[in-house]
């Protein structure tokens, strides 16, 4: 019984941690959307900024990755 409750806690915690992935998705969408908005205003400058775009996406994504990591740790390491 006690194991069941702790396992339930693990699953609930992992599910809650998955919310963080959704938050990271908002961040990544924000970066990409703003890039597109800027790129459509000045398409000639857009090509040189794709590296910056990916760096921005990677940094926004990093915090979502920590949420994913917490979920993985709860599922398999706790």
């Amino acid at each position: 019984m006690e194991g069941d409750i702790s396992q339930m806690g693990q699953f609930i915690g992992a599910g809650l941690a998955a919310i963080g992935s959704g938050a990271a998705a908002i961040g990544v969408g924000h970066v990409a959307g703003n890039f597109l908005a800027g790129a459509l205003r000045n398409p000639s400058a857009a090509g040189g900024q794709t590296a910056t775009l990916f760096i921005g996406i990677a940094f926004a994504e990093a915090l979502g990755i920590f949420a994913f990591l917490v979920a993985l740790l709860l599922m398999f390491a706790v």
Partner: protein, 251 residues
């Protein structure tokens, strides 16, 4: 790992994480560090593909390149320009390492898309070591090149003096979690994508849902082809960014 994650819903059985189990290739015994596993096999195939593209592809050294040679030249030029743009002119010295990392991850990701293959880049051990190698070499490089001046990386002079200590603390923590986010990004993307493929394939057990499931697998497979290339690119570009920080720590 797999038995905890399997779910039995309405007679359907899903084992999306079974594909990531590392098994010995010959016989089944305990896995030592020298045991040849399926992970070893696909890592070796990735290395062989890189060698095949670059050594065999450019063997002719033709002025008018063959198909394979022009692919090799295209990739070389692409990564060279990226290192030059992101890390600066003095980062070009470290281009061979960046190029090796890119090609290795690229081929490991793409070979993993072959059905029934094993995806070595989904293992946190593999990507963790790749990220740690980058982290340790870049930190050493920065300390050797700038001495204690490398620590000015954490002292953001563009910010007002009052918030600089707080920023320094945040930057310091961010610096140490770099290898974590660097490695988990790659492994997580590949792991999640391949698990998703298996989950959709699992829905094909229900006869009415099978056509939809197969279409879903097709769509996700196309997405995975994109992800395989993008994750290799992102890993490499972050390596370049870290290299730039080591070469020019002053903001």
């Amino acid at each position: 790992m797999a038995d905890e994650a399997t779910s039995e819903g309405g007679g359907l059985s899903f084992h999306p994480l079974d594909q990531f189990i590392v098994k010995p290739l010959f016989g089944d015994g305990p896995i030592h560090w020298y045991t040849v596993t399926n992970s070893t096999l696909w890592l070796a195939l990735a290395v062989l593909s890189v060698v095949g593209l670059l050594v065999l592809g450019t063997r002719g050294r033709a002025i008018v390149p063959s198909r394979l040679q022009s692919v090799a030249e295209l990739v070389y030029g692409f990564i060279y320009k990226m290192v030059e743009d992101v890390s600066g002119k003095d980062g070009v010295k470290y281009f061979p390492y960046v190029f090796t990392v890119f090609l290795f991850i690229f081929f490991a990701n793409f070979l993993a898309l072959i059905p029934m293959s094993f995806s070595p880049t989904s293992q946190f051990a593999v990507t963790g070591f790749l990220a740690l190698a980058v982290f340790i070499s870049v930190t050493t490089l920065g300390l050797v090149k700038h001495g204690l001046g490398f620590l000015s990386l954490f002292w953001v002079t563009a910010a007002p003096l009052a918030v600089r200590p707080i920023l320094a603390a945040i930057e310091f923590i961010l610096y140490w979690v770099r290898p974590v986010s660097h490695s988990v990004r790659l492994a997580g993307a590949i792991l999640a994508g391949h698990a998703l493929l298996k989950v959709f394939a699992g829905f094909a057990q229900l006869a009415p849902a099978a056509p939809l499931a197969i279409l879903g697998v097709l769509a996700i497979y196309a997405l995975e082809v994109l992800v395989a290339a993008i994750q290799a690119y992102v890993f490499t570009i972050l390596t370049c960014v870290y290299l730039k920080d080591a070469l020019h720590p002053h903001h």
